[in-house]
């Protein structure tokens, strides 16, 4: 294992609401190897997008990063001065946004939006460089002179990818980059993202809720539940042998051709982030829950295969398997 390119420790994000403080992200820690593709999955409100945005300190009020560190190139993004933070953003850690439909400024040409990026980091920007970047995501150089409303959703998302890789960042944060696209375009865009990422050797943190898409894209998967990373490990190990009951139910809920017309879900609803249940936040919905689960928050357990699982019975499940 080489030195991690991104190191996240005990990240905590809170949202101050009128009904109290919502704990959106709770002591999330992980490392990212160079060139690695990490997928963050979970249901809505599990804190996956908030985690991704916190990596770039893009949390907006009423959200607040309360604690933890995100270290890239030896600089802590969370504690950095704004000028230092600006130098990192876009150059060392870049964002491929959710909802590419509205992510580009509607009144500026694509070329101007590239020029802005280069100018912000004091780098020269030529037409040839823009054309080269557009070509790398499969777009015609003529796109540079277009405005966003003249492009399709897939094209806009490709432009966003080209913008993200323009300054050869070490880390790309992709926040549900394909959620607004149809399945055909989804595949194309993901393939493009994977290709430019490989060429660049950048690491990717991709947020999504589509387990199938994640299985194809990611090397490692982090499963989030109620603001916590409940299972993190190699994508094949996790799909073959999920250790957290939530992960298993998530994988089981993927529709297949086996029994048509039967949709398996996870019974119950996601817990309130304002007042999470005591102990393990999953215990009210968990089939395996015991007395200890409602009393104690399970600590992160390191399994021999390098996985980290937050479940009191992670070892036991391994014995049963």
């Amino acid at each position: 294992m080489s030195a991690p390119v991104l190191s996240v420790r005990d990240l905590v994000v809170e949202f101050a609401t009128s009904r109290g403080v919502a704990h959106a992200v709770n002591s999330v820690s992980f490392d990212l190897e160079p060139g690695e593709r990490l997928g963050l999955v979970g249901e809505s409100g599990s804190g996956k997008t908030t985690t991704a945005l916190a990596l770039m300190r893009l949390i907006r009020p009423p959200g607040r990063i309360v604690g933890g560190s995100v270290v890239i190139d030896g600089v802590d993004v969370i504690a950095a001065a704004t000028a230092a933070l600006r130098r990192l953003r876009g150059a060392r850690i870049a964002l491929v946004p959710q909802g590419a439909m509205n992510a580009l400024n509607p009144v500026l040409t694509i070329a101007t939006q590239f020029e802005d990026l280069f100018a912000a980091h004091g780098q020269p920007c030529t037409r040839a460089r823009i054309a080269e970047l557009l070509a790398s995501v499969g777009l015609d150089p003529g796109v540079a002179d277009r405005h966003p409303h003249e492009l399709s959703g897939g094209m806009k998302q490709r432009v966003c990818i080209a913008l993200a890789v323009a300054l050869r960042p070490a880390v790309i944060v992709a926040d549900e980059p394909t959620s607004a696209l149809d399945v055909i375009v989804q595949k194309q865009v993901l393939r493009t993202l994977a290709r430019v990422q490989r060429e660049l050797g950048a690491a990717v943190v991709m947020v999504g809720h589509d387990m199938g898409l994640m299985a194809q894209f990611a090397h490692r998967v982090g499963v989030m539940y109620a603001g916590r990373l409940v299972e993190l490990g190699d994508v094949r190990r996790i799909f073959a042998d999920p250790r957290h009951p939530y992960t298993r139910m998530l994988i089981d809920s993927l529709p297949g051709f086996g029994q048509r017309g039967v949709f398996k879900g996870i019974p119950g609803v996601a817990p309130s982030l304002l007042a999470p249940p005591p102990g393990c936040p999953f215990h009210p919905r968990c089939p395996r829950a015991g007395a200890v689960c409602s009393a104690e928050l399970p600590p992160p357990l390191d399994l021999p295969d390098g996985r980290i699982v937050r479940c009191h019975f992670a070892q036991e499940a391994a014995d049963a398997a």
Binding site: Q98, M101, P106, H121, H149
Partner: protein, 332 residues
């Protein structure tokens, strides 16, 4: 681009044509006969008009009101095309166009400047109010200005007049110009005009600044919540660049529409301010004309107003695509 231009220009021409036509029809659709009314008013006041029927017929002939409506209409269109607005009734035989043109520079100078100043300052102020990184002191300064926008400008004018014209007489109280001074194209004249414009301009600027600021603030708060602002931040752009090119510029469109409408309405003058300060602009002239029931002057000013609105809207339509490129492709 060309079809867009042609469509806009055609639209403006149509609007002017309709406005001119309506301006022709309204006085003729009004109940009663303007000529007979005027004559009976004169006779009631003790004037010698002799045979009312004969006098009315003579007057109708004089104004061409005895001819068929269509002939009158075509005649009127021809005159309007040459900006011939007829003669003033109260100041016969002064031509309406001459009088209006004499007042126009005063109004445009005073209101145009005041409107532009309050637009620029108010819009910037509103933008700063919506910007999270703005200095705190700014919000303290802005509050009274926003409150002032709830005060009608003529009230503000009266108050300013009472303070700076009467209680502490440092500024002139009336007119656009010192009485008895012969205007010349020199610095002294310019200075005197500006000196006289301070109070009326200040009352307009102070009263409208807050409106611009509040509108801009609302728009910009919406724009700053959009996804493209977050991507701009994620690209590491400077706050200044994000503020101007990604925030203000996107929020500006409704402000410009408002500005254009204000500028279009400008030729009707700010009647109350001009009356309070006895300022020799269009508004003051309109006020006098209404008092004197000078129909042709009122009609001429109304016509001027509709044409200027049409022209300003055309100008705006031509400027829109430069600010928001999405406009050209929309079918309007």
């Amino acid at each position: 681009m060309l079809p867009y231009l042609l469509r806009r220009i055609g639209m403006a021409a149509l609007v002017v044509f309709v406005a001119v036509s309506v301006n022709f029809m309204i006085p003729r659709l009004m109940p009663g006969d303007a000529v007979e009314q005027q004559l009976s008013a004169i006779s009631a006041a003790g004037g010698q008009v002799g045979d009312i029927q004969a006098a009315a017929a003579a007057l109708r002939e004089r104004y061409g009101l005895d001819r068929p409506l269509l002939t009158q209409y075509l005649d009127y269109l021809g005159h309007a095309a040459r900006l011939d607005l007829g003669v003033s009734i109260a100041h016969y035989p002064e031509r309406v166009a001459e009088g209006v043109l004499a007042s126009l520079p005063w109004t445009i100078g005073l209101l145009g400047t005041a409107t532009l100043i309050s637009f620029v300052v108010g819009t910037m102020l509103g933008g700063m109010l919506a910007w999270p990184g703005a200095p705190r002191a700014l919000k303290v300064v802005a509050l009274p200005l926003v409150v002032l926008s709830a005060v009608p400008y003529f009230m503000l004018g009266v108050v300013l007049l009472a303070i700076f014209g009467l209680a502490w007489p440092v500024l002139p109280v009336a007119g656009g110009f010192p009485f008895g001074h012969v205007p010349q194209a020199d610095l002294q004249t310019t200075g005197l005009i500006l000196y006289h414009a301070i109070l009326p301009a200040a009352s307009i600027v102070l009263a409208s600044l807050g409106t611009w600021a509040v509108a801009m603030r609302g728009m910009l708060v919406g724009v700053l919540g959009e996804d493209h602002i977050m991507l701009a931040e994620a690209k590491g752009l400077s706050p200044r660049r994000i503020f101007f090119a990604y925030g203000m510029r996107n929020a500006l469109l409704p402000q410009l529409t408002q500005l254009a409408l204000k500028l279009g309405l400008l030729v009707s003058g700010a009647i109350l301010v001009e009356v309070i300060f006895a300022y020799p602009g269009i508004g003051y002239r309109l006020y006098l004309a209404i008092g004197q029931k000078d129909l042709f002057v009122i009609q001429g000013i109304v016509l001027l107003l509709s044409i200027s609105i049409a022209l300003v809207m055309l100008l705006l339509d031509l400027l829109y695509p430069l600010i928001d490129p999405r406009v050209t492709t929309r079918q309007a």
